[in-house]
Assembly symmetry: C2
Homo-oligomer: 335 residues x 2
């Protein structure tokens, strides 16, 4: 397995990416090779600070340009052919890598992935799936913001994409699919939700019904299907409030040295850095998108996710499910 | 000011409502009268347990029927004319009360309010506004779940309703209006958000732009405008995660008796019981909807909200704003 890793994505690039790569090589099992993509000189300078790196499993691919966080995603992806994002994805397109990881501009990584890898035949819209920690076990939220104004049939596809990912990569058999909605009963919510509920109910998926905002935290499903609008609001709010609570308690404990509360342990399961990144599902390839603020730990977790996605053949599974699902794709104007 | 209070709404009715009423009469300033609506015998039995209640300011209005939480809201509101919700709202309709408060079925209270009080001329859809605590000062979220599939012009109306409420009842001059969205720039989000952004930007309102999920907690606006779908997901999730964090810390502190952390103080600003209830804005009257799990404190807070809404003339302000706003209501198919 060969993983192309954008070395220019994080806020502290390429130091964080290089350290994450070194961690991954040292800790993760299995045979894999890392291709660090970015300004070669800066990457080499960082590498020189890590002793004993196994260079037989790590190559540096020069890419002089960088897509900045503020740039319009689609145009940047097209106009910067020597950017680390485009160069890294092209390695996959040309068969020199099996996966791509980036903590750069989310919009640019998505746009370039769709543009270069192309959607899987039968997938209307590739979607970003992110992990949401709950009080029981984490769930996969799809879509987390890549797609708005989704149609019911597209939401059904998100459910299929998420179900396969959770089964293959998280090793949960027959994942329970929940639909994010504002009531439990099938007839609740907006028009789209009512139609999507009906499609999910008659699909081959293990549909667990509607999930309200207040039930998300209980983890009553494995895959939570949502339009990217509500999904993104939920995800961003979740991250911010956990960050806020963490800060509030740290402050409180600083004034209370007698308390033996291990706040890091308390918030451990809610820390996104443990989970790596968010897979872009539905393209002909493996793309994992990380936070710009990712620490090295998140990068090496993303490498682990990428390896599992490649080894389990997630892309092939999705292609089979989308072409052979119970929904009438053949009847649609489609691919 | 005469406030009709549904005594049969909370999970522990009528005990909670009676205690809340007694608290309100004892603590709140100003001249007001409470009309307790529900099963007269049970209400009287509860009242007999509170010594020294000023009965000259408290009347009991008999309503033998109750709309149960699970009942289909619209049909129940029409088919149960002697329910506490319908009887209480009719008091307002007939001029015998100036406001109505209920912790009963939210859907039934909304449906009966719209049915009996009627929307204000020019208001397409009355909306539920709820308080969201933030790290700075609370904001008003509108709509919190009463309306889905909203059009841009309806969202603009929600902004007007919320702006007037916050100015009149919260006494914040020229409230900043934020639009819940998945990006900061005007062109971000779904089609509806882009159009609503344009309408708000050219309106007479103090528009502060888009607010992302991660910025909600910072309180950068006074009124957060949203379709009821995303608004409800956000609100319900918020309530559940604060409840979860509260429980987690209480558990942790129970195992750590040396810690001198006042968890109730820490969560104080995030407790909805301090805030009373959610006003239904846009109807010809004052309706405040409380949680089914409200304690007496929340009921008396709702009484305070109702008094302020009546005294400030929120309904008349909304009627003026909706008929005289800068948006071309006259040109629409209208009223």
């Amino acid at each position: 397995v060969r993983i192309a890793l954008d070395a220019m994505g994080t806020d502290r690039h390429p130091a964080v990416e290089v350290e994450g790569a070194v961690q991954a090589l040292g800790e993760l099992p299995g045979e894999f090779e890392l291709l660090l993509v970015g300004e070669a000189e800066r990457i080499e300078a960082e590498l020189s600070q890590h002793a004993g790196v196994d260079r037989s499993r790590l190559r540096v691919i020069h890419a002089p340009d960088r897509i900045e966080p503020g740039e319009p995603a689609v145009t940047a992806a097209r106009r910067k052919p020597t950017s680390s994002i485009v160069v890294g994805l092209k390695l996959q397109k040309e068969g020199e890598a099996d996966a791509f990881i980036s903590a750069g501009s989310t919009g640019a990584v998505m746009a370039a992935s769709v543009f270069l890898l192309r959607p899987i035949t039968g997938v209307d819209r590739p979607a970003v799936a992110t992990i949401l920690p709950t009080t029981t076990q984490p769930l996969l939220l799809i879509d987390a913001g890549a797609n708005v104004d989704c149609k019911p049939n597209q939401l059904l596809q998100f459910a299929r994409l998420g179900s396969i990912y959770v089964e293959d990569v998280w090793k949960r058999p027959n994942p329970r699919i929940g639909l994010l909605n504002i009531g439990e009963e099938p007839e609740k919510g907006d028009e789209r939700s009512v139609e999507t509920h009906a499609l999910l109910a008659k699909s081959e998926l293990n549909f667990a019904g509607n999930i309200e905002g207040r039930d998300v935290i209980r983890g009553n499903c494995d895959v939570l299907v949502s339009d990217g609008f509500a999904g993104n609001v939920l995800l961003k709010f979740y991250e911010s409030i956990m960050g806020f609570m963490h800060g509030l308690l740290r402050q409180e404990l600083a004034q209370n040295p007698d308390a033996r509360i291990d706040i890091e342990r308390l918030f451990h399961g809610f820390d996104y850095t443990d989970y790596g990144g968010a897979p872009l599902l539905g393209v002909n390839g493996v793309t994992i998108i990380c936070h710009g603020g990712s620490p090295p730990r998140a990068i090496s977790s993303a490498v682990r996710m990428a390896i599992q996605s490649v080894e389990m053949g997630v892309v092939a599974h999705i292609a089979r499910a989308v072409s052979g699902g119970t929904a009438p794709e053949g009847a649609a104007e489609g691919a």
